[in-house]
Symmetry: C2
Subunit: 209 residues, 2 copies
């Protein structure tokens, strides 16, 4: 397997954490988004969409979506289970991974890409030029606030987002909560359940990679 | 089980098709988005986010995300498999379902919600008021065009989006391709592989519900 990673971006970090939690060590190639290597012909030959992460399996299957990478690795290396074993667990884990993506990751990226000077003309990932929309950055900030409220409610009476044990949902949530620093947003001080959860995930070796 | 559905919206249609393909008949309650019933106190008591679909399981688990509903039903009713059996199949199905969501469904909704007169002040789903951003509608149109190209490439040499057999990925793709009519976009005439695939899915009884 070859894992195309980027040390500075949240999406590849999700896959990197998942791979580490599975105890796997595929060949790793770092693609620098800062240097626009994701748009170089060599990388576009692997993934024409120019996005990261990418996992190329031993059979040459090219996986470009975090959920696909997770599902593949869960199937070939079931231990430790990170996507649940019972029907309830499987559903809750995908549910909270999806919520963290659409209500957390998406608006944070929206704020960053539509407001940061370095992202001028790069308001969407991939090879095309896309102008920033400042109004969209504003809308995104409101959504990020709502996301932090939602997390706090969810974590008030459980240790992990998916339920009793650590899972893919925590990886997704943790990576996006951490990523919120790029728009100068942190866990609100009053959200103590979220802070405790965050510290618990941050202490895992996979979070330090 | 209780399935909260809405006959006119694409997200609940995905769950409705999945349920029908599994041959299940949960108690169904139709929530009219046209009449704003998704924001009525009775429904917000079920799902405070005010979004559809919702599946409430026999044990009272509230599932509000399509992938969670699918994963739950796949686990308790494995036949027919709609989320794959081999590692490769599982990965390809989640991959193409994710691609259809983020590169198809999301921009189509973006165009509709930020341009349609009926969506004024309702540019995001849920209880909050959100103003339209016309520039976002424009950006969305470009992304929808790219999505149709991507589908055509994918379907050029395979019968279904996930591979050799019908799956969740086809449901996601079909529902969003169909939904594109709300922004007056159809499968381009030259995209014959996509048209053939579309006709194949449209002929399934689940597509008529």
């Amino acid at each position: 397997m070859i894992f195309y990673d980027c040390a500075t971006a949240p999406s590849p970090r999700r896959a990197r954490m998942f791979i580490a939690e599975k105890g796997l060590e595929p060949e790793r190639r770092d693609i620098s988004i800062a240097q626009n290597q994701q748009l170089a012909p060599e990388f576009l030959a692997v993934n024409p969409q120019g996005t990261l992460p990418v996992l190329v399996t031993q059979k040459g299957l090219v996986l470009t979506e975090n959920l696909a990478i997770a599902a593949y690795l869960e199937a070939i290396h079931p231990d430790p289970p990170l996507m649940g074993e019972s029907a309830t667990e499987k559903a809750e884990i995908l549910q909270w991974s999806a919520i963290c993506e659409t209500r957390g990751g998406a608006p944070i990226a929206e704020v960053l890409r539509n407001s940061h000077p370095a992202m001028k003309g790069r308001a969407l990932p991939g090879p095309q030029d896309v102008e920033q929309i400042p109004q969209l950055a504003e809308r995104g900030r409101t959504r990020v606030t709502a996301f932090f409220d939602l997390l706090e409610q969810r974590l008030a009476d459980r240790r992990y987002l998916g339920g009793a044990r650590f899972s893919l949902a925590d990886i997704t949530g943790f990576v996006f909560v951490d990523f919120a620093r790029v728009i100068r947003t942190r866990i609100p001080e009053k959200n103590t359940a979220t802070s405790d959860w965050y510290d618990r995930i941050a202490a895992r070796p996979s979070a330090a990679l």
